[in-house]
Amino acid sequence: MTYQLHQLLEASADRHADRPALVDRDRVMTYAELNSAANRVANLLVELGVRPGDRVGLYLQKSQEAIVGLYGILKTGAAYVPIDPNAPAMSRATYIIDNCGISVVVTGEEMADKWVEIVSAETALTHLVVMNAAAMDVDAPGVKVIGQDAIEAQPATFGDAGGIGQDLAYILYTSGSTGAPKGVKLSHLNGFSYVRWLVDYFEASEHDRFSNHPPLHFDMSIPDIFGAAMVGAALVLVPPKTSVFPIQIKRFIENNEITIWYSVPSTLSMLLQRGKLEAGCMPTLRVLTFAGEVFPSKYLADLMRVVPHPRYINQYGPTETNVCTYYEVPEPPDPATDIPIGRAIADVETFVVTEDGARVPPGEVGELLVRGSTVMRGYWGDPDKTARRLVPNPLGVELPDLVYRTGDLVREDGRGDYIFLGRRDNQIKSRGYRIELGEIETALYAHDRIKECAVLAVPDDIFTNKILAYVVLEGDLEEQELKAHCKEKLPPYMIPDFFRVAEGLPKTSTGKIDRRLLADEIEKDEEQA
């Protein structure tokens, strides 16, 4: 019986030993090979002292090595913690390593120039395991680099580390409003429940070929990895450069005979506009699914007309819930309407409440709450924040579990599907990434020549939002320096697209920065342009 995520791989290694499990460009691994490779990593990790309940970092590009490492970590009973390989090492990678007490990091040779920074920080780090190169020296007492040869020397079988479905499987760090990223704790059961729904609803089988490009620290990577493993299907990784070019995406889907493609709407809008899509293209696609931001109806309608054969499925859910609702788009939507986020997936319940916790009648606006087996176990090391988001059911129903407050405002459309309307706070989406504007402001304020700042979202057709920073300076500061400063503090997708230097910022009567007035100004500028 399977109830932990790595058991999905083990079961498929029994049942579908010779079927392709993982495709990374021209490298193909069967289920038997992937399982053996992961067993070797697990044996090594145990030798290095990794025990059930530990956290192990995963610091490399999404690749064959990353997936092998991920399963190796899970097999030991530890949770994997993906660290964005493109984020600044000093501020973000070391923060995560320190924050959740990581002593072993699984990494790749391509990250070598960043190791210097993470080993020099004062953390509990003791070992770097390099998946694809020989051991090398890093100049840091107390940190040892283990090379590929040490992994290969390990036995290809691994026992059962025990544990239950409620144990932590992965921690995903997302943008935090107070300036530091927060770690969302997700259990085997959380991922398992979501994937079980997805496999059933998508009618996935061993003949499918899953693909998506979101990186491992983004929860959109979960269904492809574990959904494929659940049914013995192939997971085909997208080479990083491919996802930047729409035509390459189309060719990639065609050449690799992808049947289930999952991406953010921005990517699909670009594919529509610049992908040279023609009638009959991408014939193997069976399901086209998307999440992470609102898909503009006009683009989705056009896409469905040009590529009519796949099922189109919208998924919704903050990282804290994996995915909690879905909506299958039956036909090209009316461009004047919004695509619903839909209704609850299996084993999940959702309801909408007012600020005082009273149930909202259908058609009225309220906050979406979620309970169910996909809902997280809390934030790592932050019981206060956890208690603010995971709350007793406000409707007064006595239940053993807590409900998650999404902070998302929704309205039910009268047919049982929710429409997403916006946020209760300063969180935005850009290119599918979830961003707290406050975190960018905190990063800007860390510069001693920035006296005041306000970061705003500028709505954009394709990317949902672009980011604009107003700054008030103390003395002189070149835009170049501003950007360099942001790059040191923030991952690439959080760096403002535009900066405006202002003499001062407008204030409300209570002395706060008047964001509404700033937003109105942006709108006026857009109209003039």
Partner: protein
């Protein structure tokens, strides 16, 4: 200013480059090193189309044309 220098100035000012423009060499790997991402590609295309009054065809949106400043300049020179 040469085509390469114009592109260099643009990328240094508008995209993920945090050092002086002069340090961005002709063969620096823009995609590999994440100086240019998907949004960046579209910014560069708009810049090229406006600056030189040319059109970048969808077929030309391939990594080979955007890997370095030299390759972007090559794409532009073939059109002007």
């Amino acid at each position: 200013m040469s085509i390469k220098d114009q592109i260099r100035e643009y990328i240094a000012a508008e995209l993920g480059w945090d050092k002086p423009a002069s340090e961005l060499s002709d063969d620096y790997e823009l995609l590999e090193k994440d100086v240019v991402d998907s949004l960046g590609i579209f910014k560069i295309i708009s810049f090229i189309e406006e600056e030189w009054d040319v059109e970048v065809d969808d077929d030309e949106l391939v990594p080979e044309n955007f890997e370095t400043i030299s390759s972007i300049a090559g794409l532009v020179s073939a059109k002007v």
